[in-house]
Symmetry: C2
Subunit: 248 residues, 2 copies
């Protein structure tokens, strides 16, 4: 049997790897993915094929080639493989550039815990009502598309989660995004920065749309913006934020 499974190992740690995903890791002969994700699964039993972060299509084709040779391949994403991750890249090579030798490879995708879920859980339920997820990276889409999407999302009053909010090569996009939202939403709208959730260097900062400072954010950060009904509250020594279930 020739088999390729696309899996996601959650944002951090073993506690968010589902039993289904773990059983695929245990059965796979070869692991393909971004090096830091493979390092988390380190096993002498596996053939590891680490790659850089910006070569998704090449990595997807390489993984299909390995599976076609009879290896049982697991393509490893962080988070959920279906959310800004490798499942779409695998689909893309199978759709646009299929090779005859791949035809017999069984292909499956398996859900994982995404960064937006882990970040939201840390602070309560900020995505507890209708929400959207937007990548602020303009590497693969024009900024004009992102800007319009942000404006419409604010008008639709979605809670929002931003992936890829800021990096050294994309320093201005988050500030621009917050500026667009400030034109549509109250300054008191809750904003959460959640960095490296589940890792030793995790930090979470709760602020407001008016006061949110993009300089605090880097690539390890997930940004959440509440909807118009979102509320902060204190319980014990901690603060939480949620989007109420009702909208009446």
């Amino acid at each position: 049997m020739k088999r390729l499974d696309v899996i996601g190992v959650g944002p951090a740690g073993p506690g968010w790897i589902t039993p289904e995903t773990q059983s695929i890791i245990d059965a796979a002969t070869d692991l393909v993915g971004y090096a830091p994700y493979l390092d988390r699964l380190a096993s002498e039993r596996h053939h590891c094929h680490p790659s850089d972060n910006r070569v998704e299509l090449e990595r997807a084709a390489q993984a299909m080639d390995l599976a076609a040779e009879g290896r049982h391949v697991a393509v490893v994403s962080g988070g959920d493989p279906g959310v800004f991750a490798m499942a779409a890249a695998l689909c893309e090579v199978l759709d646009r550039d299929p090779r005859a030798e791949w035809a017999e490879v069984e292909f499956g995708v398996h859900p994982g815990i995404s960064a937006l879920q882990a970040a939201a859980a840390r602070v309560g339920a900020p995505l507890g009502h209708d929400f959207c997820a937007i990548s602020l990276s303009d590497n693969l889409k024009p900024w004009s598309v992102i800007a319009r999407r942000l404006q419409l999302a604010a008008q639709a009053d979605f809670a929002m989660a931003f992936y890829n909010p800021r990096s050294s090569s994309r320093p201005w996009q988050l500030g621009e995004a917050l500026g667009i939202l400030r034109g549509e939403l109250p300054g008191a709208t809750p904003v959460v920065f959640a960095a490296a959730v589940g890792r030793p260097d995790e930090w979470v900062r709760m602020t407001t749309l008016a006061e949110a400072d993009p300089e605090e954010v880097d690539m390890r950060t997930l940004v959440i913006v509440g909807n118009s009904r979102a509320r902060y509250f204190a319980h014990g020594d901690e603060w939480f934020v949620y989007s109420p279930r009702d909208y009446l």
Copy 2:
């Protein structure tokens, strides 16, 4: 220690229950939640407090009361507790109606696999680009809010996942929603109905916005609508659908 954890056990089966969630189930003395979710975790060791599906706030207050009495309580949602589930209800009672005896209860939320992730994985990567999640239930929000949100989401070209698409008491909402989308999006836009994913009675149907028939859908179904770039493709004997990573 007084402790309440809000957990999610995924859409079905043990394979999507994270180790973190399983360890909370194992440590908890009391399980609170909708009866069918508790049935999945059946253990003679637990005190189970099953309740009906439409009493979230009463259930949340009951769970806090139990924790304040010194029980270790796990509030159980299907899917992810932060996505249209119990985390927001717990936050709501803690925010709006806190009782003095709850103050010492430690409170935490833990992510789980949501239905939208499981459904998306079954068919490839339809939510592989920017996406939104909308509940089509107008029990807790006016239909006018939902209708406007659908229209703006289509204009923003989000991939979409619809929770609570249709029930015997809400028979017309999905048809109305599809009608709104037909006014904004091409008839060829991919639509996926995914029912009871992970359960023995699972079925998945791929269709288009023009041909999608709401009569096929019930409360067990998650509805996914692709974005304007979404594509179907065949691999082996199966069909898949994905939203490409790029938008150029």
